[in-house]
């Protein structure tokens, strides 16, 4: 795997961790919760290399 791809995967993992953290902390806005989940989908698929 090229070095740039490793960086991309690390960025994906970092963003996913931020989103999960925000999702856990969110207690009021349903819109925000929904938004976090939707944004997580492509990052999860990328990290698990699901095609």
């Amino acid at each position: 795997m090229p070095f740039i791809m490793i960086i991309y995967y690390l960025i994906s993992a970092y963003l996913l961790a931020l989103l999960i953290w925000n999702f856990i902390r969110e207690e009021k806005s349903v819109d925000q919760m929904l938004q976090y989940i939707l944004i997580m989908i492509p990052l999860i698929l990328r990290l698990f290399r699901a095609k």
């Binding site: 740039i4 991309y8 207690e27 699901a50 095609k51």
Partner: protein
């Protein structure tokens, strides 16, 4: 368990279920196989990875069919599904593949050139995932693909695509467009490797003619035409005039722009001895101001909005209540391919290319595309191929 946690779990399950339902449809589409029945003229089947590095074992590798006559002659390569959302190309190439008999020379066919694009879709535009062609033995089902390769197979995209070797700056998306990555390179992105392998095939097999089959919007001026660079212009012009005179349909000639890089009709000519041609037939499905992108629109090309625009003179092709059915588009491609071979043979009798048992425009329109497809259930197993 607090109420908020239960609510969050429910939300995750709900979104997960919807994602799974949608994802499974895309998964099945990506892995759906259309059997291709090798016809009486097929003498050999290779893989494109035999010609270039980096394709073996990837989804990009694709079948290359050889129809070689006993008598030596000219060599023609037909490339289809460069853009997999222009399916008249695939259907035309399959008519040749399943029926043609080459009496002199060699015909090489790559029916699913951008195999990754053929397993991609444009969900945001509401593309149908499949389309079906009626045959006398039932319906033959095909995947409806996308213009560019899937990001699942080539990722990430650059901010700007720098074309090799000219360094022209192109849209980031075009690095996955196999009609922008010619002539390719052996150590580039996957689509550059794909076009490089095709260039190597053209050079190693000493191909004389390359025909890249496409479809284009009715509102786009480069439609219903043959695109040709300077070296192919004479044969393209003779083909266009003959088709108009003998078969009654327009197929004007468009010059290949020398300043726009990466296109097959430009780079194949510049980087090999072959004469390239690109065929365009009108494809209303690709136009933007249409109704829903349904299978019916794809196959029949009938759309009320395009009809209104036609009456206002906004289209570049004649358009009426009959639309632009797939049989007309495929028929045009069949006739144009046969006529290019004929015109080349007239000019180069020592490199003659004689192809028989293949229908022309009027026959395809009259009999329907499906009448030229073989029933895979009745074919010998060794004659059935999947990508």
């Amino acid at each position: 368990m607090s109420r908020i946690i239960a609510y969050k779990i429910l939300l995750v399950l709900f979104i997960g279920t919807i994602t799974l339902i949608g994802g499974l449809q895309l998964y099945h589409h990506r892995h759906f196989q259309t059997p291709i029945v090798a016809g009486p003229g097929v003498t050999e089947v290779k893989k494109l990875s035999d010609y270039g590095p980096g394709l073996d074992g990837t989804i990009t590798d694709t079948n290359v069919f050889f129809l070689k006559a006993e008598q030596e002659g000219g060599k023609m390569l037909i490339i289809a599904n460069t853009h997999s959302n222009e399916p008249a190309a695939l259907l035309s190439s399959l008519i040749f593949l399943e029926n043609a008999v080459v009496e002199k020379g060699t015909l090489i066919i790559i029916p699913q050139f951008n195999n990754s694009g053929g397993r991609n879709t444009r969900s945001g535009d509401g593309y149908p995932l499949y389309f079906e062609i009626k045959t006398h033995w039932g319906k033959k089902r095909f995947r409806m693909g996308n213009r560019v390769a899937s990001p699942l197979d080539q990722w990430p995209d650059p901010d700007v695509y720098v074309h090799y070797p000219d360094r022209q700056l192109l849209s980031y998306l075009d690095i996955r467009n196999t009609n922008r990555t010619w002539p390719g390179r052996p150590d580039g992105a996957l689509m550059e490797k794909l076009t490089y392998a095709a260039m190597e095939l053209i050079r190693k097999e000493n191909v004389d003619l390359v025909i890249d089959i496409h479809g284009a919007e009715t509102m786009f001026p480069v439609t219903n035409c043959i695109v040709a660079p300077e070296k192919s212009m004479r044969i393209a012009t003779m083909t266009s005039l003959t088709l108009k005179a003998m078969e009654g349909f327009d197929n004007h000639v468009e010059p290949s722009p020398s300043g726009f890089r990466g296109l097959s009709h430009r780079e194949i000519g510049d980087f090999s001895d072959a004469l390239p041609f690109l065929l365009e037939a009108p494809l209303p499905f690709l136009d933007q101001p249409t109704g829903p992108k349904t299978e019916d629109l794809l196959l029949n090309g009938k759309d009320p909005f395009l009809l209104k625009l036609s009456k206002k003179g906004k289209l570049f092709v004649p358009y009426d209540e009959n639309g632009w059915p797939m049989s007309k588009r495929v028929g045009q491609h069949c006739s144009a391919v046969l006529e290019i071979a004929k015109q080349f043979t007239r000019k180069n009798p020592e490199k003659a290319l004689l192809i028989s048992n293949t229908p022309r425009y009027k026959q395809v329109v009259k009999n329907g595309i499906g009448s030229y497809f073989k029933d895979p259930s009745k074919a010998k197993k060794e004659n059935i191929f999947h990508n």
